[in-house]
Amino acid sequence: MLQNERSLEMTRQQHQTEYVVRCLFERVGVASFVGHLDLMHTFDRAIRRAEMPILYTQGYNPRPMMVFALPLGVGIDTLGDYVDISLSRVVDAEEFMEKVNNNLPRGVKLYGGINIDEPKNSLMSVVTTAMYRIKAPGVQDPMLRLFEKDEIKVEKKSKGKIVETDIRPLLLSKAQKMPEDKDICELYVCAGSVKNLRPDVLMSALCKYEGYDEDAAANAEVTRLSLFGGEYPKLLDIKELL
């Protein structure tokens, strides 16, 4: 019976190589309207339904061992996020993805997975940069003008107090090849646990500095295209940052 098979596997066998599966994933459409924690639950359940031998943390409150590169905000699509999933035995990444994909809700899909050893640096710590695509009426020109500013002050709530911060240093660059469609803007921004620029904060700066329409900003379609490590402009592929 399936049940017993998986349970044997869920007990960790030490010193396995390549027991972590590092996958890219996309999340689009209605699936984007759930929060990050809910997305983690969704993955957890899909992996359990697929009977993949995910490992659990030890201790009081065992949690499935899954590490996401960068939290994904509600309402944001992604085409290139990363997740590391630890397994108790080696499952070929292709097989893993196929089985889990059959069990994920519409709009969420794993791709481009590889088998790796337990990474020395946690996935979360290697992310430095994200590339976003923002789609909204005439957004490209005003967004590019933001890059000409010396400072961009936005108000942020921090520990109940409102503080002003300058987000200009977090804006890294526009895309090498900007789409011809003026309703689309693609750009690199700081991302990760040290420095991070949230797309909604960027949109509010756009409204403040460029007088961009608030409604149009609220209706903008934001897609995270990819994540990188390294330091801009020398970006590194996350797959290789073990």
Binding site: R6, M10, A31, T42, R48, R49, V74, N103, P105
Partner: protein, 627 residues
């Protein structure tokens, strides 16, 4: 095909947009129906919108929804989708942006469905039914609906006295719905095939099905402000409507592939229903009578289904569901089987409604991998006298014995549930609640001393709710306590429970006063409910949104008072608004039980001795088990 569109801005402006988007694993999209709809705007299948009149997180925790969703979608000739009540913030957005209420699956407007089916689990959701019809642009009243409007139906425990909502529903289904909803859908399919010609004729035809009540075929009669019975408006309308039950639970469809929400919900776990009904017959408890007779599923079926559900859902918790799990005859086999199957899989069992004994403590130890959870008791009344009145077969000695075991086993958290305002209750009974709590506190320290356990601070919680007389119970004729009586009892108890180890939780009195009106109300309330809704009442089940004063004021405006409903009924010469509904248990049995209550006599559980309550008419279950 019509699809409701919501802008990103609108969706992102509300709390938890995940409530409104669908796309869950296990949700059913019938591509063949969608295709027809896209091509022609219509389809041959019956389209049913299963409506839950509360927020998504509560609706998705409801087993009835998952069961009936499956039953309907298993039918080739039907596509069932889900619709939930938008929360207050979304309600405002939808009104402002003129967005119609839509289904989770295809995002179709509610009014495009053939059937709009509500499940009514509690009276306080009534205004949300109106909210959903309103946002769905469906006429509120049966009499105003045209041939092409959806057929608006309901089921669930509140359907047994649907009179306060009778004008809004085309029909109500009594009892367990798995078979009946399929029969109803088949007849509606024929109506649709024939081009939806005669709505009245359809309703008359549906009324011939056992378990279907079509309120518009009857008219209530009042004399001197009192309800005196129903007049039939159509010769073929049945005199009484008997509830439906499922005879063989082992072979009824069960949702082992339920819809798995993408966001966290109230009860975020898989469910296994182990039996229906309750052998006990506590006299205040509607569930104990309306679900009679007790019918069990076999432990083999349950083990199989439990394993299947755990695999299919990926949930790490399986909830065992019933009114009183300890009364399940195969409990040991079932829990042993499941615990073995889940060994090492990081899946836990949850077993609410267990009676605490050796077996239960042992089991609780095994099922909860983490800390010892609290123990729950529901003595309901503070003295043995009153517990005899309500036929709560639990005595102080039982409680003390189980607690000694539990305290010796290291437990220190106890929750005790009571009701205030039970028939014949005196202040002495109220004081009994405090006495019991204090005895338990003392017991904890005694046991610790005897066993040489280092005493911690025990956590004893006393929780009281307000007794609401419900239809189809021996107390259905009783008077409810007044607001002043309730408040007096609460504050007296508060003054008696001042120990630092005892926490007292009391519930809002006003909600219970209104719920009581709805529970035993009649059709005069339809206008009141609609008016209250128009004045802004909805989400009444949520204390923050409940507007007591508006309701009382609206009652008065309609020439009615709280007392008229709360004072109850004269047993011998008054009619009950729900007396045309037959739940199996006879009125004469309820009367006898009421008399026994006043004599402080108990009635044994079905399993010990059958009291021939009437439910034997269904010819199955506990009534025919050897005693």
């Amino acid at each position: 095909m019509n699809q409701v569109k919501i802008s990103r801005k609108d969706l992102m402006s509300v709390e938890s947009p995940g409530r409104y988007v669908g796309g869950e694993f296990g949700s059913v999209i019938k591509e063949n129906v969608l295709e027809q709809l896209e091509k022609t705007g219509t389809c041959k299948e019956v389209r049913t919108a299963f409506c839950f009149p509360d927020v998504y997180e509560i609706g998705m925790s409801n087993l009835a929804l998952q069961i009936l969703y499956k039953c309907l979608n298993d039918m080739e000739e039907c596509w069932c989708e889900r619709v939930f009540s938008p929360w207050v913030d979304m309600d405002a957005v939808m009104r402002k942006s003129n967005i119609e209420l839509y289904s989770m699956e295809s995002k179709s407007p509610l009014k495009d469905f053939d059937v709009v089916a509500f499940t009514l689990g509690y009276e306080m959701c009534y205004t949300n039914v109106l909210q959903m019809l309103d946002l769905g642009k469906i006429p509120f009243r049966t009499k105003d609906r045209k041939e092409n409007d959806p057929i608006v139906v309901c089921g669930g425990p509140c359907a047994y006295n649907i009179e306060p909502m009778a004008d809004f529903f085309d029909l109500a289904m009594m009892g367990e719905g798995e078979e009946l909803i399929v029969e109803v859908t088949k007849i509606i399919k024929k109506y649709k095939d024939e081009g939806k010609k005669d709505r009245k004729k359809l309703l008359v035809e549906l009324s011939q099905l056992e378990g279907v009540y079509v309120p518009s075929l009857y008219e209530p009669v009042y004399e001197d402000g009192r309800y005196v019975g129903l007049n039939k408006l159509h010769e073929s309308a049945p005199d009484t409507i008997r509830k439906r039950i499922i005879k063989d639970l082992d072979n009824v469809p069960y949702p082992t592939n339920p819809v798995i929400p993408n966001i966290r919900i109230i009860h975020d776990r898989a469910y296994l229903e182990i039996f229906r009904g309750c052998i006990r017959g506590c006299r205040f408890c509607q569930a104990g009578f309306i679900y009679r007779p007790v019918r069990e599923k076999s432990s083999e079926t349950l083990c199989r289904q439990g394993i299947e559900i755990e695999h299919n859902t990926g949930y790490d918790e399986l909830g065992i569901l019933s009114l009183s799990s300890s009364d399940y005859t195969g409990l040991k086999e079932l829990t042993d089987g499941l615990l073995e199957a889940f060994e090492g899989r990081h899946t836990s069992l949850s077993l609410p409604s267990l009676r605490i004994d050796n077996f239960a403590l042992d089991l609780m130890e095994k099922v909860s991998q983490t800390r010892k959870s609290g123990l729950t008791f529901a003595p309901e009344a503070g003295t043995q006298r009153l517990r005899d009145v309500i036929n709560k077969g639990i005595c102080e000695e039982d409680i003390m014995k189980s607690l000694s075991l539990a305290f010796a086993g290291g437990w220190s958290t106890v929750k005790l549930y009571f009701m205030l305002g039970l028939p014949t209750e005196t202040m002495e009974d109220v004081e009994g609640i405090a006495d019991l709590a204090r005895k338990i506190e003392k017991l904890y320290f005694d046991v610790c001393r005897e066993q040489g356990i280092k005493a911690r601070r025990p956590e004893i919680t006393v929780s009281t709710s307000m007794y609401i007389p419900k239809p189809f119970t021996p107390f259905q004729w009783e008077k409810q306590n007044t607001k002043e009586e309730f408040l007096q009892k609460q504050s007296h108890l508060r003054s008696l429970l001042k120990s630092k180890n005892i926490k007292y939780i009391w519930h809002d009195v006003e909600t219970s006063l209104w719920e009581s009106v709805l529970a035993r109300g009649d059709r005069r309330l339809c206008d009141v409910i609609e008016d209250g809704y128009r004045k802004g009442c909805f989400y009444d089940a949520w204390d923050d949104h409940f507007k007591y004063d508006t309701w009382m004021e609206t009652l008065t405006e309609h020439g009615l008072t709280w007392e008229m409903f709360a004072k109850g009924f004269d047993v011998d010469d008054e009619h009950l608004p729900w007396e045309h509904i037959d739940v199996g248990v006879n009125m004469s049995f309820f009367k006898k039980e009421r008399e026994k209550a006043y004599r402080e006599e108990i009635t044994p559980p079905c399993r010990t001795k059958c009291s021939a309550c009437g439910a034997q008419c269904f010819k199955v279950g506990e009534c025919y088990a050897p005693k």
